[in-house]
């Protein structure tokens, strides 16, 4: 009779304490590695989406809205805004409006590149002061006209670091009455990745800052053009041409 087979000697196993050490070391490495990975990918950064705050400032205070620092100074209603009064009157008639509602503000590009000011940089309230109402097809959240006060340029592109005074204008009907205050709001923007198509853009956060604006004078928009000499005059060096 063969003796009952004894089990083959088992390979020596590491002691439980050694196994515990290896496993705990692996866990520590895993946790530290994952934590480092999350930190590197930006998961531990402060959430800057600004949820829930709705600020209110006085006119003349500078508001950082994202790509621009805006300082709203005054508002007014006026017939002419640009250097060409006739063009303004025609534009008003076309829009079926009586006057322009103008918001005056200082604009500073704080980004690292040249930017154009979004026409939605200033939003008018739903109820305009006095008996004013917006002319047809005009929205309170987008100005019809943006003008650089320095030269009347209609599509200003702002250079970083240069503050410029700007007029934003909406065609309106009616009368402001004696209204002296206008509550406008400035939407806030954040520079974020676009997930479709790549690239980045300044996107609205949904938050805005309210500004109570006093009425005031509309600054005169400068006209930089110089009187042109007779365009058909013969230049001295053209005399030999065409003979």
């Amino acid at each position: 009779m063969s003796p009952s087979p004894t089990p083959a000697p088992r390979a020596a196993r590491p002691s439980p304490s050694r196994r515990f050490l290896v496993v705990s070391l692996a866990v520590v490495v895993a946790v530290v590695g994952l934590g480092a990975g999350i930190a590197l990918a930006g998961g531990l950064e402060r959430d800057t989406s600004g949820a829930g705050t709705h600020r209110s400032v006085a006119a003349g205070e500078t508001v950082a809205t994202g790509a621009f620092d805006l300082t709203v100074t005054s508002w007014a209603t006026t017939d002419t805004i640009g250097p060409d009064p006739e063009a303004d009157v025609d534009a008003l008639a076309e829009a079926g409006a009586d006057a322009w509602l103008v918001v005056v503000l200082d604009v500073l590009d704080t980004d690292t590149t040249t930017r154009t000011l979004n026409a939605a940089a200033v939003t008018l309230p739903a109820d305009l002061p006095g008996g004013l109402e917006l002319a047809a097809d005009v929205t309170s959240s987008r100005a019809e006209t943006t003008l650089l006060v320095r030269d009347g340029h209609g599509f200003p592109a702002f250079q970083p670091g240069l503050t410029e005074q700007v007029l934003l204008a909406w065609p309106v009907r009616g009368d402001a009455g004696g209204a002296t205050e206008l509550d406008v709001s400035l939407p806030l923007y954040v520079y974020r990745d676009m997930y479709i198509g790549g690239g980045r853009r300044w996107a609205e956060t949904g938050e805005d800052v309210a500004v109570r604006v006093p009425s005031g004078e509309v600054p005169t928009v400068q006209d930089p053009s110089v009187p042109l000499d007779d365009l058909w005059a013969v230049e001295p060096d053209d005399e030999g041409a065409g003979t």
Binding site: R13, V29, A30, A36, A41, H153, A157, L162, R201
Partner: protein
């Protein structure tokens, strides 16, 4: 019979691979911010050099500044400084013109050529190897002149918001001296360069 130790070390290896995968993924997500985007299509040069960048050949001849910009139709003031870059542009294989002209200061801030005056060197296509010379006008704050300036000639589009592979010429302008109080900048009218590139 050695199955158990292999299984244990297999677990450790799996965990380690997981950690490495997460770390590498995070690094790859951030690598664009660690190294500036520099494509093989960026060509560098100095004032006076003929620099070829893909479809464009450019040469900067000089830089001038002023506090008042005078062109035939207007006199334009500024809160900063007018910088005029006298340069010649032509295509190489076909008609081409810059998609965007930009000055970059020592702080990395880019100033696109101004739209307050017509800037005919931008956008307009020039024939291959038939250079036309004019002045590209920029408006910058005075502090931009405190360091070296670089002219960036982008062949297709402004690249502030996206990385689009395109040919770019970067020409070092060095330190540009600011204007005296009443200096006037008059852009040179665009004209053919006599003798072409060799002239």
């Amino acid at each position: 019979m050695t199955a158990r130790p292999a299984r244990r070390s297999g677990t450790v290896v799996t965990v380690l691979l997981l950690v490495v995968a997460v770390l590498v993924g995070a690094a790859v997500a951030r690598v664009d911010t660690w190294w500036p985007v520099l494509t093989a299509t960026t060509t560098r040069g100095d004032v006076g050099d003929e620099v070829t960048a893909g479809p464009l050949r450019v040469r900067v001849d000089g830089v001038r500044t002023g506090t008042l910009l005078v062109d035939p139709y207007s006199e334009l003031t500024t809160g900063g400084v007018w910088v005029g870059v006298d340069m010649a542009v032509s295509g190489t294989q076909a008609d081409a013109g810059p998609g965007s002209l930009q000055l970059r200061d020592a702080g990395g801030i880019g100033y696109t050529a101004t739209t307050r005056t017509s800037n005919p060197l931008v956008y307009t296509a020039r024939a291959p190897d038939v250079p036309e010379a004019g002045t590209a006008v920029f408006e910058v704050p005075a502090q931009a002149l405190d360091g070296d300036l670089v002219l960036r000639v982008l062949s297709e589009v402004d690249d502030a918001d996206g990385e689009r592979p395109q040919a770019i010429a970067e020409i070092s302008l060095g330190r540009v001296t600011g204007p005296a109080q009443d200096d006037v900048l008059e852009p040179v009218e665009v004209a053919l360069v006599p003798g072409g590139w060799g002239g």
